[in-house]
Amino acid sequence: MGVGTRLRVNETRPRLLFQPWPLSLLGLSLLLATPIFVVFSSMFFPAGDIWTHLLDTVFARYVRNSLALMLGVSIGVLALGILPAWLVTNYRFPGSKIFEWALLLPLAIPAYIIAYTYTGMLDVAGPLQSSLREIFGWHYGEYWFPEIRSLGGAVAMLSLVFYPYVYLLARAAFAEQSGSVLEVARSLGSSRRAAFFRVALPLARPAIVVGLSIALMETLADYGTMQYFGLSTFTTGIYRTWNGLGSSVGAAQLSALLLGFVFILVSIENWSRKQSQFFNTGSRVHLGNAHKLTGGGLLVAYTACGLPVLFGFVVPFVQLVIWATITFDTVMSGDFAGYLLNSVSLAAVTSLLALTFALFIAYGRRLAPSFASSFAARILGLGYALPGTVVAIGVLLPFAWLDNRVSAFMLARFDLSTGLLLSGTAFILVFAYLVRFLPIAMNTVDAGLAKIRPSMDEAGHSLGLSSGKILRRVHMPMMRGSLVTALLLVFVDVLKELPATLLLRPFNFNTLAIRTYELANEERLADAAGPALAIVLASLIPVILLSRSLRQARRAPGEVSITQSMESNK
């Protein structure tokens, strides 16, 4: 009885200490952040004279190259991503509907694959330069040709496959901008172009910065392209320190340094976003008749929308198809269907879990914002910038330790060895994916949730809904677009993921990415084209679904009235 009474007292006090949300939120964050703590803990181990050696020789180059790469990719993805997003949301021209989704296609191509295809074509020994030499009788050195395997080439490759992140977020931001804000600017004497620079772009800036930070984290984590191009960056340096110099502590410390750098970047981004945080003061108003483009405008639109799709997707895709037809017999070798099924099931399970956790974390922070929870979220966000292998080791270390402890305990107590319960299973693999890709889901979900005014929560509470029900019946229907985006971005990323899969997978468990990598690593590019093509095709389905659902979300605006969304859930 006494307990019951006390419980009732607690119930009448809304949201106090022992709420389930903040506690389990903290628990989940800590669990998922373990690998990151493992990396940071390396700071406390001695690394011998590795640092003297690194600082004396290669460290400056790692830093210089990484920074140059980040700068280049920033310029590249912004240049490729923003303008098309603006064009497809605010103008009509023949094919604009197609570009709207086609611009997302390069997401389906792993960075190292596009690097391989372009090198195959443009390298000094590739067909293009060979034919030039043959036709004109030139010799090497007698003509100028851009070196594809260079810093500039790497910037181009990464920009071509990462610009869709900027495009995706910028497009959503432009589409959500109240049309009347732009119309006001026009009525105050701004041309369309001026309205873009003075109003639309500044308003979309927070979204664009999110897109850019995703692209930059991918850039920092990239190993395959840099290694193939022979470029020394922080990430290739981590591998070299580990494999070549044989210092896993040194490698972990390099990783920790990289994380520290990213942490500062993310903090600056958070801070600047807070400085410029504004709820859209107006409601979304119809855009009116989108402007029809003609003449010069049409040319600009086709260039801005066409080039990224052409070079980011069509050209490498065609090259892969050509290679795959040459090597058709070997394409289907191995357990092709098995690879495909493994890849797709891992991607599906991970993306669903990532979405659930991201939603849980974002909503928990909304319910009980605190310094601890936002700090935890920022720590979790670092996983995306870590090279997959580092994440994998960080995951394996605590789990293997736990497994061995449990096994030793069971052996001592019941004379039964349980072996490794979690290590070497798909569980630990999915866990590593979550550490790596949860940030991308969190970013997207956060952005969607932030757009819902707090009055919606209050309206829900006033109608007697619990926090969980508000999330399910109010927020989730309202932010459908963001949820689908998060789901599919993670899906595609898992399909492409390689290093963590390689290190953590169970026996006899192959994915398309592994198959592609092994063949490419044997320098059998043409043979690798088959599985690479399968990755692209498997990613295409979610990419197309993504663009379709975004279009629907736009047609039926996110700002559904609270009563409507409740009715539809009855």
Partner: protein, 337 residues
């Protein structure tokens, strides 16, 4: 549904770990494509199931270390001697006492206490464009540092294990100082910043970007047999020069195997390593992968025969592992990216 499948899979693997059917678990640095057919044959012959994971050797060694006493790994396969040495240093390998292995594998290619066994040999040689360079213009690895080859040499990154092993072998033969001077000379002669794989170096020679390239022989053989017209044409232009024939011989690396200390299937593990040193596997290495057998009685593949006979460097393979870190530091200092 997918979750179900994954769960089944997870428990399947778990069960596989618990139930002791006749099986052997292989952690392989050799890619699936280049080992699976031999393993399948092993299962066919012995009825022992083989479970396989492939990944780089360093990652596998780390995984085994972290998995500790409960690691399911029975056999580690690597593609270079340095990693066999590193695995042994990490203390994860057990001695295998096998008459068959002692008989099949010459002493130079195996650990004295049977901690690891070399299974195939890979030679790293100098390749040249037959139309622009004649074979008598260069003889030794040392000549690659000769200023007459300024801007004429293509070689991949020093991050690559085969280059690290080559450097390690020179450290063993000539000392660290001389090797560093050589590396500096080599870097000065590079036609381009190191990039791409071995095949890319070979292609660059024919494209005219450089006159000489350093590459493993099986890559050239692979191009000849690839069926891709462009690659075949490139390979036909290339001459193979066996370096240092008048002194220590051409640099050789081994791929090999070792049994894991915590193995729960020691008998099966031994049988697998024995099988890999046997006639079928050795011929398969030679025919399909164009590697050289560790056994004198196994014929060299037709393609490799075309490259001629040569004198191989017979240094103690452990040296490759021992000097690996020194080799990388030396490359860093010499500016070999």
């Amino acid at each position: 549904m997918f979750a179900n499948k994954l769960l089944t899979l997870a428990f399947g693997v778990l069960a596989a770990g618990l139930v002791s059917a006749a099986e052997v678990n292989v952690y392989s640095a050799r890619s699936e494509e280049l080992i699976k057919p031999a393993l399948d044959r092993f299962t066919e012959e012995t009825g022992i199931e083989v479970n396989l994971i492939t990944e780089s050797a360093d990652a596998l060694i780390r995984r085994i270390e972290l998995e500790g006493v409960n690691s399911p790994a029975d056999v580690l396969l690597t593609v270079d001697a340095g990693r066999l040495f590193r695995a042994e240093e990490a203390g994860i390998l057990a001695s295998v006492d096998s008459e068959v292995l002692r008989e099949n594998i010459p002493a130079a290619y195996r650990h004295p206490e049977g901690k690891w066994f070399g299974l195939s040999l890979r030679s790293r040689v100098i390749m040249f464009d037959k139309s622009r360079v004649s074979a008598d213009e260069i003889a030794d690895y040392e000549d690659l540092a000769d200023p007459k080859w300024k801007r004429q040499i293509c070689i991949r990154s020093s991050g690559n294990i085969y280059n690290q092993s080559l450097l390690a072998s020179m450290i063993e033969h000539r000392g660290e100082e001389a090797t560093e001077a050589w590396a500096e000379g080599l870097v000065a002669n590079l036609a381009r910043r190191p990039q791409g794989g071995d095949r890319d170096q070979i292609r660059a020679v024919v494209a005219g970007q450089c006159k000489l390239a350093v590459a493993n022989t099986y890559y050239l053989a692979g191009m000849i047999n690839s069926g891709v017209a462009e690659d075949v044409a490139v390979a036909e232009q290339i001459g193979v020069l066996w370096p240092n024939q008048d002194d220590r011989g051409a640099h050789m690396n081994v791929s090999g195997a070792g049994m894991i200390k915590t193995s729960k299937n020691q008998d099966e593990a031994r049988q697998l390593i024995e099988f890999l040193s046997g006639d079928f596997a050795q011929q398969w290495y030679s025919e399909v992968n164009n590697e050289y057998s560790v056994r004198a009685d196994i014929p060299v593949s037709k393609t490799l025969q075309g490259f001629g006979t040569f004198k191989a460097d017979t240094l103690n393979l452990e040296a490759l592992g021992r000097h690996n870190a020194a080799a990388v530091r030396l490359a860093d200092r010499a500016g070999w990216q």
